[in-house]
């Protein structure tokens, strides 16, 4: 099988990786990673020196990939790897996570002036957020099968070299081995991994307490900022001269809950007024009776339809033997 492997597929280079046999599955296999230059929809500065990988093995770690690239082009070229899940996570965290949800949009609308200050605070805030994070329960995450990763190399030249090395491999048939010289440097899988998971599921209470405390501090700070900003926004006109209308009285923005309660109360009152007037007039009564009759007919028709449907399926009307 490996002999028949094409060197490229689409615009991807095929990188075969040989997988050593294990006692539980004594069979050597070849895994295929597909590699190309990274070209995301939203370009970034580092695109020219990064590679896009798809179909990375589920047990990939940065060390594994480092080893793999070292086998291809020698050590020193590999810088870092970002896996699919991690990239998604960071994206989500930035949009919803630690922001008080009700204020996200207001912050987004708040214009350029604010953003500058945001950037100043970014580094400090990232640190705070890190402190507020709860500890992970796994020593090592698994990747989804067939998932992607972006690898950053030292420079553009390394990218060229890697692609060339891959092409060469197909001729020499000397595939790099997965997990070579890595096994003792990454956390083990198997029972150790599972036991560690159980152990990590019960972190020290002090650690958790500290994380929770850090979070509350951070949250309080953000909430205060948001409140201040909202207050400021109330009177301020934007570039086009419009003033954003926000809820609340003169003194402070209203709590969302209170607003909803008030609305519910109003609805209830309307409902009650309506219900007092049903069956009040004779025509209402008559109409209701008419409706009931129609309903009865409709249900009869429904039943008939159901029976027809059952007949179409057959077998429902034949007593079981």
């Amino acid at each position: 099988m490996p002999s028949a492997c094409p060197p490229t597929i689409g615009d991807f280079s095929v990188l075969p990786v040989s997988i050593p046999p294990l006692p539980s599955f004594p069979r050597s296999a070849v895994h295929y990673v597909y590699v190309r230059r990274n070209a995301p929809k939203v370009p970034t500065a580092d695109d020219s020196r990064s590679l896009f990988l798809t179909n990375v093995p589920v047990d990939s770690t940065e060390l594994h990939l480092r080893g793999l690239f070292a086998a291809l082009v020698g050590s020193g070229r590999f810088e870092s790897a970002a896996f699919e899940e991690e990239r998604k996570e960071s994206y989500q965290a930035s949009t919803t996570d630690l922001q008080p949800a009700s204020l996200v949009r207001q912050l987004a609308h708040s214009g350029n002036k604010k953003r500058k200050r945001e950037e100043d605070n970014a580094a400090e805030r990232a640190e705070e957020e890190e402190a507020a994070r709860l500890p992970s329960t796994w020593t090592r995450p698994l990747r989804r099968s067939g998932s992607t990763a972006v690898v950053q190399l030292a420079d553009e030249k390394s990218v060229e070299q890697v692609l060339k090395a891959i092409a060469k491999i197909h001729k020499s048939k000397k595939y790099p081995t997965w997990g070579e010289n890595v096994a003792d440097r990454v956390p083990a899988l198997g029972s150790v991994w599972l036991k560690a998971h159980n152990r990590l599921s019960y972190p020290d209470k002090e650690v958790v307490q500290a994380a929770v405390d850090a979070f509350s501090a951070l949250f309080a700070k953000k909430e205060q900022e948001a409140a201040e900003m909202a207050k400021k926004l109330r009177g301020e006109a934007d570039e086009d001269g419009f003033v954003t209308v926000t809820r609340g009285g003169r003194n402070a923005p209203a709590s969302r809950n209170e607003a909803e309660e008030a609305k519910q109360k109003m609805l209830d009152r309307a409902e009650k007024r309506k219900s007092e007037l049903t069956d009040f007039y004779r025509f209402q009564l008559r109409e209701r009776q008419k409706e009931e009759q129609a309903d009865l007919l409709k249900r009869f028709d429904d039943d008939r339809k159901k029976v027809w449907a059952m007949r179409e399926k057959r077998g429902k009307f034949v007593p079981e033997a």
Binding site: I19, S24, D59, L142, S145, Y202, K205
Partner: protein, 1117 residues
């Protein structure tokens, strides 16, 4: 039953069909009964035979037979013995004399003369249905009066003559018909007094029976009978003794009445009279025929037929009963009106049968007096007064009770307008002993029983069964000892048809089958209190009777309030064992069965033996509940909590009597860390919760930490608490739980409910300005939230209520769960769903009662799963018992809507709604994914179907284990987990370094090992479970995994056939390898094909599992 016709109202416009039915009144009110009528009509059309096609050529054959019989040469009376010998020699056949055969010295004279012919039964009335067991055309030949004498009613004389007559007819027909038909003797309705000639045309045999359109496989029965009214009916009354002993035997005993013999003889003269009655009724009442067909199907689905072993109540008896009910009495008033519709007639007959237990109280139909007093104990009586015949003479006391019970159950369905009435009544086959009875036993009688005094013409098996029934009935059913059983049924072996040249071939193994239906509450009683031993004569007499029946087992005991009573003490504990013990004792005592152990084999207990928990282990669950009570008190007593505790609700199977394994009230030296029982805590409403989902989760963590430290402080060492983190991806989900471990070994897992979370999620769902994926996420989070904090506590509450209400429920649930587990379906179903299925079987048990033992509950649940068409039917469990029709319709509509929205069933598959949770997906959709998926649900149905098939095939002797053997060959990949490594992974310690290598050399001296004496951490989840979840998350595309509960060491998997090959794209659903296309260049030119890289995937699995996986077997690699 039916509502009175509505007042007629004038309607301006013309009536169409719908309105006609609306106005006919009977069906105005309820949608269900309307549906029932429509469905019943449909059923009749479906089963009706097209007589011209199906029974083509019958008439011609009948005419030929008539001609052949008419051509037989009559002869004058000749001595029986010589004539018989001559006939047997000449025609090479045997005369089917009833036992005892005529004596060699008999001076009876037999003769032959031309009979009258008539065709009777369902052939003429055209009430045969396609699905009946065999189609017979009954041809009656009325033997002329001149060959009989008045005294022939005595001592089987009539039956000897009848047998001879039949043999002559058989000899004549054999000559001419043997080439085109198979002739054999059979008993008319299994009655050994009345042999008949059965003609089975070979032409019809060839036809495939499944082919419904073509001619049928039919038989013609030739039934000789006596001329109408030849024997005086008064002499044939039930009390008459017509079999008299001769010689000295007769002198010392007064003759016993022979009710069965008399009724058979009376019935011999009634064929034509009944034929006339039925024809008359058919003319008078248009719906009569249809009602008879419905009755026939109803009886057939319950295993009843006119044959003696099948209960002796078949379609003929049904038709007679109905006809007599329609007939006017002397005042001209009929019980039923001839203008009723067929469903109404059917319901009325069911009503009639359910009102009277014929074996307890005789019922007299029609005008006229019946002399029933002199009869002694004639068995069930349904007396046709005008013909002076007991229509139910073929019934036994037990079959009468069974019929009564079935009619009562059916009446129950028909009066419950909320549920499907049609299929339990007509479609479901309810004749299996294992479905019907909680205990089934086989009893040998041959070697042990000989009762010379009895004169029962039905044979030894019947004499024995009657006696056994009397004994068992008194011991188990009678009110004297508190009604341990609701029903006892006995199945007597039947005699198959036999060739003309042989004697009847009774089955060689002489066993009868006894089925017992428990009354669970009474059956589990170990001490019986008999009559009190007082000084009065009455009391003494009663005690005497008691002692006579119970023998040495009866002893005197003193009870509270100084009452001294006769008492029975039994040694067993479970209902099943108690029943067996009592049966063995009384049968041994009264039937003088020497080695009851050998003669009596008991079935039905095999299932409960499979479970680690015995049915009477309710105590551990009660202990778990008590422990939970303590825990709740401890929590409520905490004083420094900032909010007031509103509720602490259990949400786990251990606290609702339904876990397969006993709750871990762990002795301290257990092999694994504690497995906590889960609960949720909710507090009074508070405005202090932050208005942000992530912040709420963190607040909960802080709250849990606080509860933990308060608990530890308060109890000073008796309680240890551990804060555990959930294995979640997203910060808005519940982040943590608190495990509380008591010194005694019980442990609980606590999660906090915050109502603000729900509001926030709902707000996110409604907020149209948010991104779609956020709203989808919020929807699934809300579903998870509702399930955890609303549905599960309610479910827990109601299920534990039902576990107390139905004693058999808990163990039935455990059996069904065990079945899911054994077939590796466990990981795909929530336990709540399985509980709902079993609950459904208990709450709508039609056509039976709620199961009274684990095995019946289990088998009926399987039957339900096999028959459940989940594609179009929702499972509706009416927990509150007061669901309205509108609510049910709403649920059905919701399912329809789901199916329209998602016709491929990717998101919702099974739909299980309750009155508490009408959305129907709380327990079948988890995290936005159907649980189970369509493939797995189909597998469940297939497995249930084959299990039901096995139950039917194997019958009573079924080996319970066979239902629980998984078929591993169905899987493409088998992953064997190492049980040793699993066991080791069950204990982890807080001092372990998570990063350290496996089992770092521990000190070989226990006192130097730091872990000695340290409590292991609780299990956040079972390690095998954790691995399974990780694998599932990584390979949800290419592999579908199957696994049982935590202890299952073999994971099965199949490859997803849709993903095996595809063209290369950027986002791959799994690991693929390039395929070279040299082999077929025409196909998919230019496309880069890739195929699933199976070896690499399995190698990955092996790496992930490490030492946890012992070996991976893969098919086709």
């Amino acid at each position: 039953m039916e509502t009175a016709p509505m007042k007629r109202r004038k309607l301006g416009h013309e009536d169409d069909g719908a309105e006609k039915i609306l106005k006919s009144g009977a069906s105005t009110r309820f949608s269900r009964s309307r549906a029932f009528i429509l469905e019943a009509d449909e059923l009749l059309q479906e089963v009706q035979l097209d007589h011209t096609v199906a029974l083509d050529g019958v008439d011609g054959l009948l005419h030929r037979i008539k001609g052949l019989i008419e051509a037989i040469e009559p002869h004058a009376p000749l001595p029986i013995v010589e004539t018989t010998t001559m006939l047997e020699k000449k025609s090479l056949l045997k005369v089917p004399f009833p036992e005892p055969r005529p004596a060699e010295t008999s001076n009876l004279k037999v003769s032959f003369a031309k009979p009258q012919f008539n065709v009777v039964g369902s052939y003429v009335s055209k009430t045969m249905v396609k699905t009946q067991k065999d189609h017979t055309v009954d041809m009656v030949i009325v033997m002329p009066a001149e060959i009989f004498q008045e005294k022939d009613l005595l001592n089987l004389r009539y039956f000897y003559k009848r047998a001879y007559y039949l043999a002559v007819v058989a000899a004549a027909l054999q000559k001419d018909l043997s080439s085109e038909a198979q002739l054999s003797y059979d008993y008319l309705n299994g009655n050994p007094l009345c042999p008949v000639l059965s003609i089975h045309p070979t032409a019809s045999q060839k036809k495939d029976n499944n082919e419904i359109t073509g001619p049928l496989d039919y038989r013609i029965q030739i039934i000789p009978c006596s001329p109408d009214g030849f024997f005086s009916k008064t002499k044939l009354n039930l009390g008459a003794a017509l079999i008299r002993k001769t010689g000295e035997e007769a002198a010392d005993s007064s003759p016993q009445p022979t009710p069965f013999y008399n009724s058979t003889l009376a019935a011999e003269g009634c064929f034509l009279s009944y034929l006339r009655l039925l024809r008359k009724t058919e003319k008078k009442c248009a719906a009569f025929r249809s009602a008879c067909m419905m009755g026939r199907i109803w009886l057939q689905q319950r295993g009843f037929s006119g044959d003696l072993p099948d209960g002796g109540f078949g379609h003929f008896e049904w038709a007679l009963t109905l006809a007599l009910l329609l007939q006017a009495d002397s005042n001209g008033n009929a019980t039923l009106s001839a203008s009723l519709s067929s469903t109404q007639l059917f319901k009325a007959t069911i009503q009639f049968l359910s009102a009277t237990n014929l074996s307890e109280k005789p019922y007299i139909l029609g005008a006229g007096k019946a002399d029933l007093e002199s009869a002694g104990d004639p068995g069930p009586v349904l007396y046709d007064a005008s013909r002076q015949l007991n229509i139910a003479f073929k019934m036994s006391p037990w079959s009468a009770s069974l019929l009564h019970q079935h009619a009562k159950w059916t009446r129950g369905v028909l009066s419950n307008n909320a549920v499907d009435q049609f299929s339990p009544t007509f479609i479901l086959k309810a004749d299996l002993a294992l479905h019907n009875y909680d205990l089934v036993a086989r009893l040998n009688y041959d070697t042990t029983f000989d009762d010379a005094t009895s004169v029962d013409s039905r044979g030894k098996a019947w004499q024995f069964s009657t006696k056994a029934y009397r004994v068992l009935n008194r011991a188990l059913v009678d009110s004297e000892l508190g009604e341990r059983a609701r029903l006892i049924n006995i199945k007597v072996p039947a005699c198959p048809a036999w060739p003309l040249s042989a004697r009847p071939s009774w089955p060689p193994n002489s066993t009868v089958e006894i089925g017992v239906l428990f009354d669970v509450v009474n059956m589990s009683r170990a001490v019986d209190r008999g009559p009190s031993a007082g000084p009065t004569a009455e009391e003494k007499e009663e005690c005497q009777r008691f002692r006579q029946f119970w023998g040495e087992k009866a002893e005197l005991r003193r009870f509270e309030r100084d009452s001294i009573r006769e008492t029975l003490i039994w040694n067993s504990t479970t209902p099943f064992d108690l029943c067996e013990e009592i049966m063995r004792y009384v049968l041994g005592l009264h039937l003088r069965i020497g080695h009851v152990d050998k003669e009596l084999t008991v079935y039905g207990n095999g299932f409960s033996a499979l479970l680690p928990l015995k049915p009477d282990d309710g105590a551990v669950f009660i202990a778990a509940k008590k422990a939970f009570g303590t825990f709740e008190r401890d929590i409520r007593d905490l004083e420094d909590l900032p909010l007031h505790v509103k509720q602490l609700a259990p949400i786990c199977t251990e606290l609702r009597h339904t876990s397969v394994k006993p709750p871990s009230i762990r002795p301290s030296k257990s092999k694994s860390g504690p497995r906590p029982m889960e609960a949720v805590i909710s507090f009074e409403a508070s405005g202090k919760w932050p208005e942000n989902l992530v912040a709420i989760q963190r607040t909960k963590v802080a709250f849990l930490l606080m509860i933990g430290s308060l608990l530890e402080k308060k109890t000073a060492g008796a309680i240890k608490t551990y804060l555990g983190l959930e294995d979640t991806k997203c910060e808005t989900e519940n982040a943590a739980f608190l495990d509380v471990v008591y010194e005694s070994g019980t442990s609980f897992r606590l999660r906090i409910h915050s109502d603000l979370e729900e509001t926030l999620l709902e707000r996110q769902i409604k907020d149209k300005t948010l991104e779609q994926h956020v709203r989808t996420k919020a929807t699934s989070s809300l579903a998870t939230f509702k399930r955890l904090y609303t549905n599960l506590p309610l479910h827990n509450q109601s299920v534990s209520t039902f576990a107390t209400r139905f004693p058999a429920f808990s163990s039935a649930v455990r059996l069904v769960k065990h079945w899911f587990n054994a077939h590796k379906l466990w990981c795909h179903f929530t336990e709540e769903f399985i509980e709902l299925v079993v609950l459904h079987v208990f709450l709508t048990p039609y056509p039976w009662d709620p199961p009274s033992s684990a095995s019946t509950g289990f088998l009926r649940a399987l039957l339900f799963l096999a028959r459940w068409d989940w594609r179009s039917e929702p499972l509706i469990v009416d927990i509150g018992g007061e669901m309205s029709a509108a609510e049910r319709v709403a649920i059905e509509t919701r399912l329809e809507a789901w199916r329209k929205l998602d016709p491929n069933m990717n998101h919702t598959v099974l739909f299980a709604a309750t009155s508490q949770e009408p959305n129907g997906v709380a327990h079948t959709v988890l995290d936005g994914q159907a649980k189970p998926s369509k493939v797995v649900a189909a597998r469940m149905t297939a497995l249930a179907k084959s299990a039901c098939w096995l139950v039917r095939e194997e019958g009573v002797g079924l080996n319970a284990r066979r239902l629980f053997v998984p078929s591993l060959k169905d899987y493409d990949v088998l992953i064997h987990l190492s049980s040793m490594v699993t066991k080791r992974a069950l204990r982890t310690y807080s001092t372990d370094e998570p990063e350290e290598a496996s089992n770092k050399t521990r000190s070989q001296y226990k006192n130097l090992d730091e872990r000695t004496g340290q409590e292991p951490l609780p299990l956040a989840q079972h390690p095998a479970e954790a691995l399974f979840k990780q694998l599932n998350a990584a390979y949800s595309g290419p592999l579908l995994f199957f696994r049982g509960a935590a202890e299952d060491t073999i994971i099965g998997a199949i490859w997803n056939p849709q993903l095996l090959r595809r063209s290369f794209r950027l986002n791959l659903p799994t690991s693929y390898k390039p395929v070279t296309q040299k082999s077929d260049p025409d196909e998919d030119e230019g496309e880069d094909l890739v195929a699933v890289n199976r070896e690499a995937i399995l190698a990955e699995v092996a790496r992930v599992g490490g030492d946890f996986i012992e070996r991976i077997d893969a098919k086709g690699l």
